[in-house]
Amino acid sequence: MSMNSQGRPTAPTADNDTGEMKPVFESFSGHKGLRIAEPLVFELGTTQTTGVDVEEIEDFELSVGGLERDTEIGCPGLAEPDVVRHFTRLSRRNYGIDMGVFPLGSCTMKHNPRLNEKMARLPGFGDIHPLQPLSTVQGALELMSELSHWITTLTGMPAVALSPKAGAHGELCGVMAIRAALEARGDAREIVLCPESAHGTNPATAAFCGYKVKSIPAKENGRVDAEALKEALDDTVAAVMITNPNTCGLFEDEIKDIADAIHAAGAFFYCDGANFNAIMGKVRPGDLGVDAMHLNLHKTFSTPHGGGGPGSGPVVFSDALKDFAPMPYVVSGAGGYEIVEDGDNTSLGRLTAFHGQMGMYVRALSYMLSHGSDGIRQAAEDAVLNANYVLASLGDVMSASFEGPCMHEALFDDRFLKDTGVTTLDFAKAMIDEGYHPMTMYFPLVVHGAMLVEPTETESKYNMDQFIRSMRGLASEAKAGNIGRFEGAPYHAPWKRLDETQAARQPVLRYTLPEAAE
């Protein structure tokens, strides 16, 4: 056995297919074939190198009030070739929808059409300033107006506020509108009701609107208990925040009854619309008694998640709330489109500096126009079909949390792993070895060791069958007691399991120069 340059021994390894032992050699570079090591940009570049050419400026007198920056900033620059390589290499450590099934429940990781990317980059959309004279952005305003028309038509709601920047921002917008409406009628209420299964943003939002959050229980079948809800409803309740379809992937069967009860109590019904993908074109929230609901354009309408954002969270409003919608909004006047951005009105105010996520509006409208009314309904049906196909195909080997069909996502819990020593986390990491992004784990909180699988409509039957084969295989391995497959997983990923505890205990949140480091 030889030693490599770092002095580590190279070791034999077994060939995966034959079990035969073969040597594997550590490289001198640290790279391994197409898996290429890549340090931080700070370890590669210097503050003296740059990957841009900038016009040389002759000396001139500065007018910065004597406040020139005269200490080192510390940001390194790389020549362009090295920048391309750095980020190409980094990208190859990621999993994305473009690589395979990404069944992350509650996130609707559907195909992101490249047409949308192209459209958003048209200079007429991508290269216009939010404060240009309105006469020079009529096309943009028309697009926003057209998008609003699609959204209100699909949701059956009279109005929409486009500006919220993501789902959580939309929730803020919606609950604020509710509070504004209540205050306008002099009604100071204190409580927002949320089911236990609610996404974390729901209670957090309610808190940021100055409300106390009270939990409402679920029925055996995973839906909100309308009776319990009715009991909790009184004149201190400002709003009820319900996700529908809910985070267990189920449609709230008593939704209209619930809505009526909410309204009867003088409260408002905020619907978390993160799961709208299951029902778009199939049923309109406006027909169900909803007062406010956000859409996640980055889920339902295919704008890319981009590793965490940006998103866009338009909020639709009922007649009771629409006058409290935020500014700015677009109106169509005699001389063309206008923006209302100020003035005396009942609007809850401004939620963001400009008009919201134009880049996402373009992509979402591109998606809507492409699908049309027929394709949108078909997409919802296919999303639900794929999820139920997973549920039906895995029900015998995994433990479905609830009886009966689901909507766009199938919820399992960890009962099938009982006594195997395998946890939901282990199971998820083994899915990585299978070439899949894990499903959502440990959410919703209402079942133990939750596994929430949302395939979306853009997966083929071939992909679903292959995925199901893996899931079945893993489930039977777990039951067979082959715990090794799980506890060390992932084996095939570029990194082994990462230590989150260590990260939180001694947080290192930025690079510091070796000499400056303690």
């Binding site: 007018s63 920048v83 007429g124 038509t153």
Partner: protein, 450 residues
Amino acid sequence: MRYLPLTNDDRQAMLAKIGVRHVDDLFRDVPKADLNPDIDLPRHQSEMMVERQLSKLAAKNTSAGSVPFFVGAGAYKHHVPATVDHMIQRGEFLTAYTPYQPEIAQGTLQYLFEFQTMVAQLTGMDVANASMYDGSTATAEAVMMARRVTRKKKAVLAGGLHAHYRSVVETTTQFTDDVIESQMPMPSDPEAELQVAINAIDDTTSCVVVQNPTVNGSVLDLTAIADKAHAHKALLIVVVTEVMSLGLIKSPGEMGADIVVGEGQSIGNGLNFGGPYLGLFATNQKYVRQMPGRLCGKTTDSEGKEGFVLTLSTREQHIRREKATSNICTNSGLCSLAFTVHMSLLGEKGLRQTALVNHKRATDVKNALAGIDGVEVLNSSFFNEFTVKLPTAAAPIVDKLAADGVLAGVPMSRLYPGGGFDDLLILAATETVSDDDIEILAAKLKEALS
């Protein structure tokens, strides 16, 4: 439908496996009467037709690159290298989710770690988070964080804070415990404007929020206000709406800021009619656990290999729920990648050079306009933006120039309607402005004023 892989045969086979006859059997919980409503919208269309329809809308707008362009006030037209857009379109970046599974998300996590470091370096602070929606929402978050840190309520918003930022803070905190004291800009006297803010700081103050450069473009020395704030155990929050300025101007950290928030659009990101943009949020080590937003931190894997994970998530909504430091979930991930790529190209050297060109261009514009009768430049200091007083209302002049193919800036009345600033115009000039552009602007403005 080109995006839907299931065929009718597939659908039939899958329904059979599920054990239902029709897909609507899966929607049985939906009230029958409400299922499958008429949706009065057009049917699906080919890619070509969609492209045409959207291109037609786009063509109705005047893009910044097609005309002499001087619009700023919180969003800036810079040259973004082609490499940036290429990198952010890599499918592995574009179509990834928040890196909750770090073993297959090290690409995202590493650039977030790089991004956090860069933002910290630029702002002169210890740590930065992995982004917020935009500069304005980051400002609101900072105000609320200052309340948590100081357990005090009064936030003073200095007059130089962008009108829209101020509105966002007011809106966002209207139902929280924060008490906002907003001041008006004093375009011709930034020192006095700052003094008003200094004077407003007292022992009940949680924070004072100062924009630098101000909405009118003036560059401020913040050491005095920092001292005053700290003397009253209040935090100094500095807002930077033009991050490019940090390549030329002393960092907020160096001047005593406790929290720096900013709009990162200028680096790596296009104008996009206002969004998506990139909220920057930086603070000092001791406040980390009160920060909103995601944080990426270093760790090791089970074999000791260094890697990154999202960390300190006990601050966040998905763990802390109603006790979270913010309700933010989705942030501006891909915009932060664009920022990181562009910054990796620029480096300190390129950033400083570019910032200097910005200042030179603005100086050139200022000189060109100063020569026009009746036009008065109000700024004595500025980075790439300044305010002029016209002999007449600015908005109609801007409209006139727009009709003439010049986008001449932002009338201050657009930001402060009824604020008494009707004759003021805010102009920005970046490295994209050419000598020709300046000449055309000066000529057309002169013409419009005469």
